[in-house]
């Protein structure tokens, strides 16, 4: 905080809220300020008043991150399959359709290549709007390919993580994606190549217990929720008081997991600088 000049107190106050058309305005959960969606998007979905980082769509995130016009999306058409014919209250197929319609995405991760300050990178960004960016076969496969492309083309891998965890509708196929992605990272690491993961709100469970914890650097956006088990589950299991700030990025920096917390607007510059240190000398 304090990196950017703060707006005068009361900016975008909520007094006109009743007249506002649905969906055009966003209320900040941190400071309560209301900002026009367009302004918020132009501001990388960071609250102009208090720097709160709203959940950012994967496509916007990538566009803001790579050198303009350099992103080439890959594996864009991959679609999930209801292998288990999951018998729940709603079908997996209907759930997927609902989220595809809501987000305009085919699945919960966007992958491809691009340039970061002129350096080629293989990158993936998960989108929390799509079924809480849960990891099923498609997410696992696309991320694995992203890592394998990095290994084959000898480029760094940068991954923006967000996830509620595994995709229950795919059962054990989902759990095994943890091994698939982590295995690909092992080979990428053996090739001496850098992998940076950026944790965003929220990154939990099976994703946190696989590729999201394996970065050469683990970077986080401010105030994200990061963890293995959900706070509710922990409270119910242990009947313990949870410490202040438990499972936040700041808590995890303090406890030695997160290397640095970086403001969204500084992410590009920071990671480009990090890669200057982490890239193999010959590259």
């Amino acid at each position: 905080m304090g990196i950017f000049q703060k707006r005068p107190f009361g900016h975008g106050s909520s007094k006109k809220k009743k007249d506002m058309p649905e969906g055009l305005w966003q209320k900040c959960p941190e400071c309560g300020d209301v900002t026009h969606n367009l302004e918020l998007t132009q501001n990388q979905r960071v609250c102009p008043n208090c720097d709160y980082h709203f959940t950012q769509a994967a496509r916007e995130r990538i566009e803001d991150f790579v050198d303009p016009g350099t992103f080439e999306e890959l594996d864009a058409d991959m679609l999930s399959v209801d292998t288990l014919k999951f018998k729940g209250l709603v079908t997996y197929t209907d759930t997927l359709k609902k989220h595809q319609k809501k987000t305009g995405l085919k699945e919960a991760v966007i992958c491809g290549t691009g340039l970061l300050s002129g350096r080629k990178i293989s990158l993936a960004a998960m989108d929390f709007h799509f079924l809480a960016a849960s990891m099923g076969s498609v997410v696992g496969e696309k991320i694995t390919r992203t890592i394998e492309r990095g290994t084959a083309e000898r480029t760094p891998v940068i991954l923006f993580a967000a996830s509620g965890g595994a995709r229950m509708y795919e059962g054990m196929l989902s759990l095994m994606q943890m091994a698939k992605t982590s295995g690909a990272l092992a080979l990428h690491a053996q090739a001496g190549l850098p992998y940076i993961v950026v944790l965003t709100n929220s990154t939990m469970a099976g994703v946190m217990a696989s590729f999201a914890s394996l970065g050469d650097l683990i970077v986080s956006e401010p105030k994200c929720t990061i963890g293995f088990a959900g706070a509710r589950v922990i409270r119910e299991t242990t009947h313990q008081e949870l410490p202040a700030g438990f499972q936040t990025a700041e808590f995890l920096e303090e406890h030695g997991l997160v290397d640095m917390i970086v403001h969204r607007k500084k992410m590009r510059a920071t990671l480009a600088e990090a890669l200057n240190y982490l890239s193999p000398k010959s590259a």
Binding site: D77, L79, M178, A186, A205, G206, M208, A209, L214
Partner: protein
Amino acid sequence: MKVQPLEFEKPIVELEEKLEDLKKHSRIHDIDFDAEVRRMEAKIEQTRRDIYMNLTAWQRVQIARHVARPFALDYFMRSFTDFMEIHGDRLFGDDKAMPAGFAMAGGHRCAVIGHQKGRDTKENLMRNFGSAHPEGYRKALRLMRLAEKFKLPVVALIDTPGAYPGVGAEERHISEAIAVNIREMMVLRTPVVAVVIGEGGSGGALGIGVADRVLMFENSYYSVISPEGCAAILWKHRNQAAAAAEALKLTAHDLEKLKLVDEVLPEPLGGAHQDPQRAMADLQKAVVKHLKELSAVPIDKLLADRYQKYRRVGEYIEAAK
């Protein structure tokens, strides 16, 4: 040990009680009920078959959780010989939910790891109900490194409801501990055999479960989430766990069909706890068979095969390019 019946086993128990009454009656009044006894015994046998040959996923979950089922240390001490336990992760502590050490099986020197549950309150306090903390996973990794260094195959016995969801576990990064184990096991330069002996609870199971061969006992289960947890989220109520267990396809036979399990080890009728000796002998045989096969594979091929085994997992469709 007197085995506590599960809810769905009640019809068998009731019949067995009737049979006992009949025999007692026969003794006291000195009446010959032999024909009746034989008829009753046949009925009991038939009922047992009807129940145990048609187990639902949820019933198997209950058998997998049975307190009288053989646990990891039972196998370490009886399926293997010369078990020698080692302690501690050299970082924080020793996790008693995850015993680890060395043991012999069919002439193979092995590194053995497993989740360990308790049979009573005191034991469960010590074993934390088989839910390991980061220290458990890091001790397991330390042992795996030793195995790699001294060319010992690794045998991992999986039996956990899940890694522990607690404040300390989060503060010491349970996610990272599991993630690192998974990554390192994908490239560990020694054969690995994993056997799900009871509960295969999600990431906590996979944290010692990446292997060249994954075996499951017939009534064990392996799942991305507990049936209760899944029910709470997708059915809005934990009491729908039976439906969730069915939907998740978590039984050994389901997972064999999905090609996620290499071999299903049959159990005695009613579950491993009905005849622990047999279960322990069967595990020994299966482990030795797989270790023999794996030790004949050149290490680079073993690793390439292991990578592909996991690389292949997942179903999706791709539009034609």
